[in-house]
Amino acid sequence: MNPNQADEREVCLVDDDLSVLKSMHYLLASEGLKVRTFNKAEDFLSHASTHHVPVVVTDIWMDQVTGLEVLARLCAISPKTRVIVITAREDLAARATAMAIGPVAFFMKPFNDEKFIAAVRDALGQGRK
C-alpha cells in the first residue's frame, strides 16, 4: 500500500486479545467500514509512523506496553489521529489519564455496539449516514 495514499476511512484496531480484535473487525465490517487490525501495539505504532491513521480503536491494558504509553507515543507520531479507548477494567486513574491525552470516546468492555459504531463514524468525520 502506498503510504501516501492513505485511506481516509480506514479504521485501525489494536488489541492483544485476538478474539476481541476479530469481533471488533466483524462489527465495523458489518457497517461497511474499512478496518486494519493490529495484535501488537508496536506493529500499530510503526504503521502509524508511515501511514495516515484517521481513527484508532485501542485497548489500554495490554501485555507488553500499556495503552497509555501507546497513546502518548501515538500523540507524538500522529497528533491528528482520533483515538477511541476501550478497556476491560474500570480504572478511574487510567481513565483520567486517557482523557487527558484526548481520546474522542471511552468504552468499557463489553460495550454498546450502536454507540461504538456511532463513535467510530464520528471520529471518521462522516457523521451519520
Binding site: T66, A94, P110
Partner: protein
C-alpha cells in the same frame, strides 16, 4: 543137701526161728545200721557155729567193698585175718565179698585156703580157717551190703544154714531201707525248719481249719506274737492288721491266708500291721497259695509276708514332696506350702521339729515362714530379728550363706541372745541351712531342732537338702508371681489410662482374647466369646478390606502391622483406632498367634478433623479474599470473551439486516461466538475452583506450568499496579505431588504480597521474579522475589504468624495459611531479606523422584 533127722530138723527150725526173732527185735531197736549189723553178726555166729562174721559195704564212690563191722569168736589166732580183712578193699568180682556183690547170690566155699579167688588165703591158713560163706543184703535189687562168715571145720554147703542167713539178710535189707527213708525224711525237715527260722520273710501255714502249722520267727516278729489258736474272724484284731488307711481292721474274710485256704492264689496284697511291739506300725506285702493234697483237695494255705515299710515310707515321703510341689504349682499361699513342707520333714524322723524363716527384701531382717510345731512365743520372738554373724543358727546361716550346726544352744556363742528363749521352748540343738535361689541369692533358712545335744545324722542332712531345695522353689516362685502381678497391674493401669486395648488372635482356631478395655473400645459384651472374624467385622466396611490385607501381609511375613482405621460399632457409632500387632510363629514357622494393642484415637481424630476443617475454612476465606485482590484480572479475563461475543453477535445482526450475508461468514461468526462463550466458561470455572471448598486431592504437578498459568491469571492486576512479573524456570524441574488449587493459592498470595510490598516504589522498580530450581533433585524450590520493603529485620519468619500484617486492609492470615498448606504438602517455606533490598519467599516441596518435566511441556 544132706538128709537130716526130723528131730534135728525140728531143733534147727526152732533155733532158726528164735534167731530170726532175736535179730528182728535187735534190728528194730538198733539206732543205726552198724550196730544192727553187729548184733546180726554176733547172733548168727553164736547160734550157728561160725567163728568170724564180717559185714562189707560199698565205699562212698561204689568202686569197692570195705569192711564195716566184724565179729570174732575171742580167739587171738584170728587177729591176722581180721587185720588182712580190714586192709582189704574188694572190687566187683574179686574175693568172696566181690563175687557175691557181682552175682547178688550167696556163695559157699568149702576150702578157702585153696580157692583161687580168695586173696586173704595166707591169713586164712594161719588162722586155721576152712569154710566161708557170703550172702548179699539186697534192697530194691541192689546189693547194699555183703555178710561173710568163716569156720575152722571144712563143711559142705548147708542149705538150711544159708537160708537162715538169707532170711536175716532180707530182714536187714528191709530194715535198712526203712532206716534210710526215715533218715532222708528227717534231713528234709531239718533243712526246711532251718530255712523257715532264718528267713527274713514271715511264713505262715495253716490247715483248713485255720490251725497254724507253721509260724516262723519272722512271722512272730512281724505280727508281735506267735501262733495262737483262734477263729479266722479274730486274726485281724489279735495280730493288729489294718487296711492302708491304718485304722480300719483288715476284713477277716479278705485276709490273704483265709483266701489261700479257700483255694485262691493271692499276690502282692499290702496291709498295715500295728501292735505293742511295733507301735509305729509296719507295712507288709503278702503272697498266698493254697496247699493241695495228692488228689487236688485243698488242705490248707501258706502265706509269705515281706516287710515293705521302708519302701512304703520312701514312697510316702516322695508323694509328700510331690504334694508340696503341686501346691507350689497351684499357687497355694506361701505360708501353706512351707507349713506342709515342714510337716512332711518332721514326719520323717522321730522327735524332729523344723522351721522355715524368710529373708526380707531389705536383706537384713527375717520374717516368719513356717514353724507349725514350735512354740508361738519362740516364733514371735524370731519374727523380724536381724541377720548377722552371731544371730542364732538361722540368722547366722543366712548371713554366712552356709549351713550352721549348733549342737548345744546352751553353750554356743551364736545363741547368746536367744538362750533363755531356747531353754523355755526345750530346744537343745539347732541346725540351720540357708535357702538359696537359682541365682544364689539368700531367700531364707531351713532349720531342724532337737531336744538332745547332737549334730545331724546323714538322713537328716539329706532331708535338709530336699527341704531347702523345695522351699527355694516355693519362695522364688512366689517372688516371681509378686513381680508378675506388679508388672501386670502396672501394664493394666497404663493400658486403662492410655485407652489401650490388648488382644491376642489365634487364627488357627479363629479365637481371640481381649482385655476389658478392649471389649469396651470394640463394643463387645464382657461375656461374648470372641473370634477373629468378629473382631474384623467391627472394622468399618470401607476400610475392612485394607485392614484385612495389612493383617494378612503381616501374617505371611510374620512381621508387624499397623493400621489406622474406623470401627463401626452397634447403633452406627464410629470410633477411630490405631491397631498395632505382631505375628508370632513357632519353630516350624506355623503362625501361632498375633498379639497387639488397639489405641482409641477418636478424640484426637475429632480434634484433628476439626483443626483440618478450620484450616480449610481459613484457606477458603483466604482464597475468597484473594479473589477480591484479583478483580481486575478476573474482570479483564471475563470481559474479553464477553466483549468478543457481544461484538460478533452484533456484527452478525447487522450483516443479516443488510441482507447480504455470506452464509460462510455467518457460520464463522457463530463459531467464534461459541469459542468465546467457552472461553468465558473457562474463566468462570477457574474462579470457581479457586473459591470452591474442596478437600485436598494430590496429583502430579509440573510447578513451572502452574506458575505460568497463575502469572497469566493475575496478569491484569500486575499490569494495573504497573508492575512486572518475570519468571526464571528450571527446565529440568521434577514434578511434585500436590493439590493444584492450593499451590495456586500459595503463588497468588506470594505474588499479591509482593505487589503490596512494592506499592510505594516507582513503577519502573516494581519487579517480581519467580524462579524455580532443583539442585539436588529431591527438593523443588520456588522463590518469589520482590524489591519491596522487605521482611521484619528482627524476625523474618514473624510474617508467617497468624494475624501478623503490615497492611491496613490485611487480615494477616495469608502467609500463615500459605505455611500450613506447604507443611501439609511436606514442604517448608522461609522468608529472607535480599542483600540489597526486598525479600524472597522460598518454598521447598519434596520432588517426586524420576519425574522431570521440560519447559516445553508447560
Amino acid at each position: 543137701m544132706n538128709p537130716a533127722s526130723t528131730k534135728e530138723d525140728h531143733q534147727h527150725s526152732e533155733e532158726q526161728l528164735s534167731l530170726l526173732q532175736t535179730i528182728s527185735m535187735e534190728v528194730a531197736t538198733a539206732s543205726d545200721l552198724a550196730s544192727a549189723l553187729e548184733v546180726v553178726l554176733r547172733e548168727v555166729c553164736e547160734k550157728t557155729g561160725w567163728v568170724i562174721g564180717h559185714a562189707w559195704v560199698s565205699n562212698s564212690d561204689a568202686t569197692a567193698l570195705d569192711l564195716l563191722v566184724g565179729w570174732y569168736c575171742g580167739d587171738s589166732e584170728l587177729k591176722p585175718f581180721k587185720a588182712a580183712s580190714e586192709a582189704s578193699h574188694f572190687k566187683l568180682g574179686v574175693g568172696l565179698p566181690g563175687r557175691v556183690w557181682e552175682s547178688k547170690q550167696p556163695a559157699w566155699v568149702e576150702d578157702i585156703v585153696n580157692d583161687p579167688n580168695f586173696p586173704r588165703s595166707a591169713a586164712a591158713r594161719s588162722a586155721g580157717l576152712k569154710t566161708g560163706v557170703a550172702i548179699p543184703i539186697l534192697s530194691r535189687r541192689k546189693v547194699i551190703a555183703v555178710l561173710e562168715f568163716f569156720m575152722r571145720e571144712a563143711r559142705s554147703q548147708n542149705e538150711q544154714l544159708v537160708n537162715v542167713i538169707v532170711a536175716v539178710a532180707a530182714q536187714l535189707g528191709l530194715m535198712m531201707e526203712r532206716k534210710r527213708a526215715a533218715e532222708q525224711l528227717s534231713d528234709t525237715n531239718e533243712i526246711l525248719q532251718s530255712i523257715l527260722s532264718n528267713m527274713g520273710d514271715a511264713v505262715i501255714v495253716a490247715d483248713k481249719g485255720g490251725h497254724f502249722l507253721v509260724f516262723n520267727p519272722a512271722a512272730e516278729r512281724m505280727f508281735g506274737k506267735g501262733a495262737m489258736q483262734m477263729p479266722f474272724a479274730e486274726w485281724s484284731q489279735r495280730y493288729g492288721i489294718y487296711l492302708a488307711d491304718k485304722i480300719t481292721p483288715f476284713p477277716h474274710d479278705q485276709l490273704p491266708l483265709a483266701r489261700s485256704i479257700r483255694g485262691e492264689e493271692v499276690d502282692n496284697v499290702e496291709m498295715f500291721v500295728r501292735h505293742e511291739r511295733a507301735p509305729h506300725g509296719l507295712w507288709t506285702e503278702i503272697t498266698g497259695r493254697p496247699l493241695r493234697g495228692a488228689n487236688g483237695d485243698v488242705l490248707g494255705g501258706v502265706i509269705v509276708c515281706r516287710d515293705i515299710t521302708q519302701v512304703k515310707e520312701e514312697e510316702f515321703f516322695r508323694a509328700g514332696q510331690s504334694g508340696v510341689l503341686e501346691m507350689i504349682a497351684a499357687d497355694a499361699p506361701l505360708g501353706d506350702v512351707l507349713t506342709s513342707l515342714v510337716l512332711l520333714m518332721e514326719g520323717q524322723a522321730e522327735g524332729l521339729r523344723c522351721s522355715i524363716l524368710l529373708l526380707n527384701h531389705d536383706g537384713k531382717h527375717v520374717r516368719h515362714g513356717a514353724a507349725p510345731n514350735l512354740p508361738e512365743a519362740y516364733v514371735k520372738a524370731v519374727n523380724g530379728a536381724p541377720i548377722g554373724p552371731r544371730n542364732g543358727s538361722c540368722g547366722t546361716a543366712m548371713y554366712r550363706r552356709r549351713p550352721v550346726v549348733v549342737t548345744d544352744v546352751m553353750t554356743d556363742p551364736l545363741w547368746a541372745d536367744y538362750r533363755e528363749l531356747a531353754k523355755i521352748c526345750g530346744l537343745r540343738a539347732c541346725w540351720s541351712t540357708p535357702i538359696l535361689s537359682a541365682q544364689g541369692d539368700v531367700l531364707g533358712s531351713f532349720a531342724m531342732y532337737r531336744e538332745e545335744n547332737r549334730g545331724p545324722l546323714p538322713d537328716e542332712t539329706r532331708l535338709t537338702q530336699i527341704a531347702t531345695h523345695i522351699a527355694g522353689i516355693a519362695i522364688e516362685r512366689q517372688r516371681q508371681q509378686e513381680i508378675l502381678r506388679e508388672r501386670e497391674a502396672r501394664i493394666n493401669l497404663a493400658a486403662e489410662s492410655a485407652d489401650l486395648a490388648f488382644w491376642i488372635l489365634y487364627p488357627g482356631q479363629n479365637a481371640a482374647w481381649m482385655s476389658e478395655k478392649g471389649r469396651l473400645i470394640y463394643g463387645f459384651d464382657s461375656e461374648l466369646p470372641l473370634t477373629c472374624d468378629l473382631l474384623l467385622s467391627r472394622v468399618h466396611p470401607d476400610e475392612r478390606a485394607d485392614v484385612k490385607a495389612a493383617y494378612d501381609r503381616a501374617c505371611a511375613l510374620s512381621g508387624t502391622f499397623e493400621s489406622e482405621h474406623r470401627l463401626l460399632l452397634p447403633y452406627g457409632r464410629t470410633r477411630w483406632v490405631i491397631m498395632r500387632g505382631r505375628c508370632l510363629k513357632d519353630e516350624e514357622g506355623n503362625l501361632l498367634e498375633t498379639i497387639g494393642v488397639t489405641l482409641d484415637v477418636s478424640a484426637q481424630k475429632q480434634a484433628d478433623l476439626q483443626l483440618q476443617h478450620q484450616r480449610e475454612e481459613m484457606a477458603h476465606r483466604n482464597r475468597v479474599s484473594l479473589m477480591g485482590e484479583m478483580t481486575a484480572s478476573f474482570a479483564h479475563e471475563l470481559n474479553q470473551p464477553l466483549t468478543a461475543i457481544a461484538n460478533t453477535a452484533s456484527a452478525a445482526r447487522r450483516f443479516i439486516e443488510r441482507g447480504n450475508i455470506d452464509p460462510a461468514l455467518l457460520q464463522q461468526l457463530l463459531q467464534d461466538m461459541v469459542a468465546d462463550s467457552q472461553r468465558a466458561g473457562e474463566v468462570i470455572r477457574g474462579i470457581r475452583s479457586l473459591v470452591r471448598k474442596e478437600t485436598s486431592v494430590h496429583t502430579l504437578l509440573d510447578l513451572n506450568s502452574v506458575i505460568t498459568e497463575t502469572v497469566r491469571l493475575v496478569s491484569t492486576d500486575v499490569l494495573s499496579r504497573e508492575s512486572v512479573v518475570t519468571t526464571e524456570l528450571d527446565p529440568q524441574l521434577p514434578q511434585v505431588k500436590a493439590t493444584l488449587v492450593q499451590i495456586q493459592q500459595v503463588l497468588l498470595n506470594l505474588i499479591i504480597n509482593a505487589l503490596d510490598a512494592m506499592e510505594g516504589l516507582p513503577p519502573a522498580e516494581r519487579r517480581i521474579i519467580i524462579s524455580t530450581r532443583s539442585d539436588k533433585g529431591d527438593v523443588v524450590e520456588v522463590s518469589v522475589r520482590d524489591f519491596g520493603t522487605g521482611l521484619p529485620k528482627d524476625r523474618p519468619d514473624k510474617v508467617f504468624d497468624h494475624f501478623f500484617s503490615t497492611k491496613q486492609k490485611g487480615m494477616g492470615m495469608g502467609l500463615a495459611i500459605v505455611r500450613s498448606i506447604i507443611e501439609a504438602h511436606g514442604g517448608t517455606i522461609v522468608g529472607e531479606n535480599a542483600p540489597d533490598r526486598g525479600a524472597s519467599m522460598i518454598v521447598r516441596l519434596p520432588a517426586v523422584r524420576g519425574q522431570t518435566q521440560t519447559i516445553a511441556a508447560a
